[in-house]
């Protein structure tokens, strides 16, 4: 109970700030009579949301699905590539530079190619999300594994431990604080990735709906879609934070060593 109360107390400043900003926004829109197609006020956006709630939720489902599946794919791809790069100096020299180079590609320019290859279904969106999200996880895995204390490796050798056991008992768990850092960063990209994938070519999803609403000047609903996407991203971030708290609570301690 105490913990929950403290958590609510911690969220209070952020909630207050949001309340103030929304009130200010509403006031400006009303005082200056800003037209809704330029900047709708928060109440107008809320009204648009409520009015189209069925439609919005219907289109939120595919977007959330692409984001989550892509993110999970990126988590696997990022961890595996990080481990491979860590284990093999040859891979570090051959693969790592190209992974870095892949991050300089404008993914928004690659997305149409993916659509021509894989069609209008969810696959190209998932791939865009993977491209957006895997790299921070790769880097975090590489850094985390590299940060293993040499003395700990010596200790494991003195126990007569195989490389394999050393990896699973010491190196991988030791990399978790870094890995979770990368995952928390990556998860904030995944919704953006899904929307960009949908912009390029789709028949469903919030990204698809946004393009339509922009063309039809449904600006309040466009804002409602943005708010919904943001809420989706925040929820995913909180889910990852909760997962970290559950499976590796020690990574959250400052005095863990």
């Amino acid at each position: 109970m105490k913990g929950r109360a403290a958590g609510a107390g911690r969220a209070l400043p952020a909630a207050l700030l949001a309340g103030l900003a929304l009130a200010g926004w509403e006031a400006v829109v009303r005082l200056f009579g800003v037209p809704a197609f330029l900047l709708p006020g928060p109440t107008a956006i809320a009204g648009a949301f409520w009015g189209s709630r069925g439609l919005l939720l219907e289109h939120a489902v595919p977007t959330a699905g692409e984001a989550v599946v892509g993110f999970l794919g990126a988590a696997v791809a990022g961890t595996v590539s990080g481990v491979v790069i860590n284990r093999s100096p040859l891979m570090e020299r051959s693969l790592y530079p190209w992974l870095v180079a892949s991050q300089t590609l404008p993914i928004i320019a690659v997305a149409p190619i993916l659509v021509t290859w894989f069609g209008y279904g969810p696959l190209p969106k998932v791939l865009v999300v993977v491209l957006f999200c895997f790299f921070p996880i790769t880097v975090a895995t590489v850094d985390g594994l590299r940060a293993t204390e040499p003395d700990l490796l010596r200790l494991m050798r003195s126990f007569g431990a195989s490389r394999w056991r050393t990896f699973f008992m010491v190196e991988m768990p030791g990399a978790l604080p870094f890995l979770f850092g990368g995952v928390r960063l990556a998860v904030t990209y995944c919704v953006v990735g899904a929307v960009i994938g949908e912009w390029v070519g789709s028949s469903a999803g919030l990204g698809f709906l946004m393009i339509q609403d922009k063309a039809q000047f449904e600006i309040p609903r466009l804002f409602a879609e943005i708010a919904l996407l943001s809420a989706m991203g925040v929820s995913l971030f909180l889910a990852v934070a909760l997962l970290q708290r559950l499976v590796a609570p020690w990574t959250l301690r400052r005095d863990r060593r």
């Binding site: 700990l152 050798r157 003195s158 007569g160 431990a161």
Partner: protein, 229 residues
């Protein structure tokens, strides 16, 4: 190191002492099979020791794993060596009980004091059940009072540990209190400056430090270390 020739008999407790940078830790790493000598050999029971994993080794820092409980940290060495997890944990629980630390089994390492962490690290090493135990300044990072407690504790549990112990230390009192024999190394290149047999009665207690015999030995050690004795 230059011409260090050392023979440790089974069942003895030897303390290695010397100035910082004399290569005490390196020597211990050699004995543990963790490092290779440019020249010379390390033999155990007459056979050359080529690989790590046949003697127990405790490094300077406790290196407890924060994601493992005290119990799981104590069993780490056995598990790393291939003992099935269940069996390793059972034996760790037994040894924790035997040393009066059963109540700490479920704690996390960060909830322990420095002295308790050292105890856990020592038990982790001892649980390997190897006949040689190499301790690299095990209490070096502790405050003076905690160190006294740990020395007293080690004195008390010594018989329950492995047969042969080699302890690296920079603490003259600690060496004399615990060991049967103290070997003093010189500065680089390290040579054996003095090989002293500690003929103080056993079982010892902390009280031995105020006896005349202790002072006499301490004087010789300090002399060999080049400190006014």
């Amino acid at each position: 190191m230059d011409g260090v020739d050392l023979e440790v008999e089974q069942g003895t407790f030897v303390a290695l002492i010397g100035p910082s940078g004399a290569g005490k830790s390196t020597l211990l790493g050699l004995l543990a099979g963790l490092e290779k000598a440019d020249e010379g050999v390390v033999e155990k029971d007459g056979a050359p020791l080529l690989e790590a994993g046949s003697v127990a080794y405790m490094p300077q820092s406790d290196l407890l794993l924060p994601w493992r409980s005290v119990l799981a940290n104590v069993s780490l060495g056995l598990e790393a060596g291939g003992t099935p997890r269940k069996e390793a944990r059972a034996r760790a629980a037994e040894v924790l009980g035997g040393f009066g630390l059963a109540e700490f089994a479920k704690r996390s390492p960060w909830a322990l004091s420095g002295g308790m962490r050292s105890r856990v690290a020592l038990l982790r090493t001892a649980l390997l059940g190897r006949d040689v135990l190499l301790l690299d300044e095990p209490f070096g990072a502790l405050d003076a009072l905690t160190r006294r407690h740990l020395q007293e504790w080690l004195l008390g549990v010594r018989d329950g540990l492995a047969a042969t112990i080699v302890l690296v230390t920079h603490d003259v009192d600690e060496a004399l209190l615990l060991a049967d024999r103290v070997v003093v190394l010189t500065k680089r290149p390290a040579r054996v400056a003095l090989d002293l047999s500690v003929d103080l009665d056993r079982p010892r207690t902390m009280g031995v430090e105020t006896t005349a015999g202790f002072s006499r030995l301490k004087g010789r050690l300090l002399g060999a270390l080049g400190v006014a004795g």
